[in-house]
């Protein structure tokens, strides 16, 4: 286990390092932020002083070194726009994004898995057909458009829910459904096909033959095995939710990290972009390691580390 874990961790650190470097290079390519903020009548000296203050006049290699040192100390400098520490700006919005992602993830689990199981055990029935149709449609729906459709129906026409912003629970409903849409459909499809595969096994017939309740057979014997194949997918989904929340946060004016990154990119606010992207990258890497580890616990048959 440890033998497998160490290269995995090293690899993850390498991924984070590459992302950090890309972000550094990227944010220096966006353009000169001072030009975007400086008043039209600012003197050349004032602009130079401002550049000097932000360390933009140092050679690139020095800037890069400073940047890496800062990353290690969670010091990313101040946001150019708000002049608050970038780390504080991002971390204060982290909770809103985590909240949204978790709500969407709960929806994916609570809807995708049971519907998939139901569709599999009642294969060919009307509920199965409806579920599959629903899955097909939501997999073809871009989530920015799904969000706008939901806003139009439930906020504009019916007036049941607020159009955007953050407030109570009712503000969370539409963004969470929007963010969960694709994942719900995919989870449902995967659960259904996984269950169908498992249900055709001999041990299911044996379990039924020895008179176990249908419920027990489905939940204890079939679902547990079907879920195993789903873990990787759910892991990737959880990681994607955080990145996917950029669009949803923009559509619903949700005050999270995604919207902050989006705004910072158009404002060329380097430090904020760096922290935001770095957080999402770390989140991705952590989830991937957790998914790998979860195999060891879920399925003793899998010997992780054997190169297949």
């Amino acid at each position: 286990m440890a033998a497998h874990l160490i290269p995995r961790l090293l690899q993850s650190i390498a991924v984070v390092f590459v992302v950090v470097s890309l972000v550094f290079v990227g944010s220096r390519l966006i353009g000169d932020p001072i030009e975007a903020y400086a008043a039209r009548n600012a003197t050349e000296e004032a602009i130079e002083a401002q550049r000097d203050r932000l360390g933009l006049l140092d050679p690139m290699i020095v800037q890069y070194g400073n940047f890496l040192w800062g990353v290690l100390n969670l010091d990313f400098g101040d946001s150019i726009f708000s002049e608050q520490p970038a780390w504080d700006e991002v971390s204060s919005r982290m909770w809103a994004t985590v909240q949204l992602s978790l709500a969407a993830f709960v929806l994916i689990l609570a809807v995708g898995v049971p519907v998939g199981v139901l569709a599999a055990i009642r294969r060919g029935s009307i509920p199965d057909l409806i579920a599959r149709l629903f899955a097909l449609v939501s997999q073809a729906m871009p989530n920015f458009w799904l969000g706008l459709v939901l806003i139009f129906i439930f906020a504009v026409q019916l007036g049941w829910l607020p159009t955007s912003g953050k407030g109570g629970f009712e503000n969370l409903i539409l963004p969470a459904i929007t963010l969960a849409g694709f994942g719900m459909a995919a989870t449902m499809r995967l659960t259904r096909s996984g269950m169908l595969e498992v249900l055709s096994n001999d041990y299911i017939r044996t379990a039924q033959a020895k008179g176990l309740a249908q419920r027990t057979v489905i939940v204890r014997h079939a679902l547990r095995n079907a879920l195993l194949g789903l873990v990787t997918f759910l892991g990737i989904t959880l990681a994607q939710l955080l990145a996917g929340s950029i669009i949803v946060e923009v559509v619903f004016a949700w005050p999270g990290v995604g919207r902050l990154i989006f705004r910072s990119i158009s404002l060329r606010d380097f430090p904020l972009i760096q922290v935001g992207v770095l957080l999402i990258a770390v989140w991705f890497v952590v989830i991937n390691i957790l998914v790998d580890l979860s195999y060891n616990f879920l399925d003793p048959r899998i010997r992780v580390g054997s190169d297949a």
């Binding site: 991924v15 890309l22 073809a140």
Partner: protein, 307 residues
């Protein structure tokens, strides 16, 4: 008289029976689910037609602004006219023409990204699976890293750095989508290389290049084509999403995603401004997925693990 009539009807029934038999024999040769397939192909055909001939078939100039014609109602509203079938937007531009011109953008993205990522991924997968060794481990590490990377975020970042342009979107998506082809092809080559025809080809002295292109490649084409078809929806939605955020198509390019974004401000009173391009994106993505599913069932019913 009556005998003649019954004779005529008998020959008629006979003739009918023959044609229906012939029809049945002929239709048996058609692939399963062909009526639906015709529908999918018709939709895709329309999309292709609109994309290729966009410059000739738009009823109006899609970029021409006109204050007089701004916010015309579509034809199904009381005040709509057939001159502007889907109405006009806030700048007086014809929605139908923009929709047709926008299909050109989607088509362009598909015909560049899909072959690009397919060729790159298949080549890497073939070499990695056949030669193994350090190239294989390196390529597979790269695939792992790619698949565990927030691609969308990266695309957004690049677009912000270099300015929104379709060329950047195309390059970025190719650099992300090749990984799934490489993984698929490598896995298939790993099992193919143990087969006897490969051994036979090697025994008579086939070179590596010949083995890969003449013997291995034809055997992986099916799965690669299926994956490519299923990727159509991914590419369309990715381009639309980036354009929606202003990080996709450049300012001069008309894109469905951008049309949705432009109609957003008028969502409350004119839903169709976002609805029409949105539904179009959805239909093309849906048909792409259905076509992929159909192809998978047709080419290889056992191949259910793609995607």
């Amino acid at each position: 008289m009556s005998g003649q009539a019954s004779q005529t009807s008998a020959t008629l029934a006979d003739a009918f029976g023959q044609t229906s038999q012939r029809w049945r024999a002929w239709s048996r040769r058609l692939p399963r689910g062909w009526p639906l397939l015709c529908v999918y192909l018709a939709v895709m055909g329309l999309f292709l037609f609109a994309g290729i001939f966009a410059d000739w078939i738009t009823p109006h100039d899609p970029t021409k602004q006109s204050l007089v014609n701004r916010l015309q109602d579509p034809v199904w509203q009381a005040e709509g006219t057939s001159e502007f079938f889907f109405g006009t937007d806030g700048l007086g531009r014809d929605i139908l023409s923009r929709l047709i011109k926008g299909s050109q953008t989607s088509l362009l993205v598909i015909v560049t990204i899909i072959p690009g990522s397919l060729v790159l991924g298949t080549a890497i997968g073939l070499i990695a699976g056949w030669r193994r060794g350090p190239f294989d481990s390196f390529a597979m590490r790269l695939v792992e890293v790619q698949l565990a990377f927030p691609a969308f975020l990266f695309a957004l970042l690049i677009a912000a750095m270099l300015g929104p342009s379709l060329r950047n979107v195309i390059v970025i998506l190719i650099l992300f989508l090749w990984a799934s082809y490489a993984r698929l092809v490598r896995a298939e080559v790993l099992s193919l290389r143990e087969r006897e025809f490969v051994l036979a080809a090697r025994t008579i002295g086939a070179s590596d290049i010949r083995l890969m292109t003449r013997h291995l490649l034809p055997n992986v084409v099916n799965s690669v084509v299926i994956l490519a078809t299923l990727n159509v929806s991914i590419v369309i939605i990715a381009e639309a999403s980036l354009s929606f955020l202003g990080a996709g198509a450049g300012p001069e390019t008309i894109s469905w995603g951008k049309m949705v974004a432009e109609g957003r401000d008028l969502l409350k009173i004119r839903f169709w401004l976002t609805g029409i391009p949105g539904i179009t994106i959805m239909i093309i993505a849906l048909v792409g997925n259905l076509l992929g599913d159909w192809l998978r069932d047709y080419l290889d019913p056992q191949l259910r693990n793609i995607q």
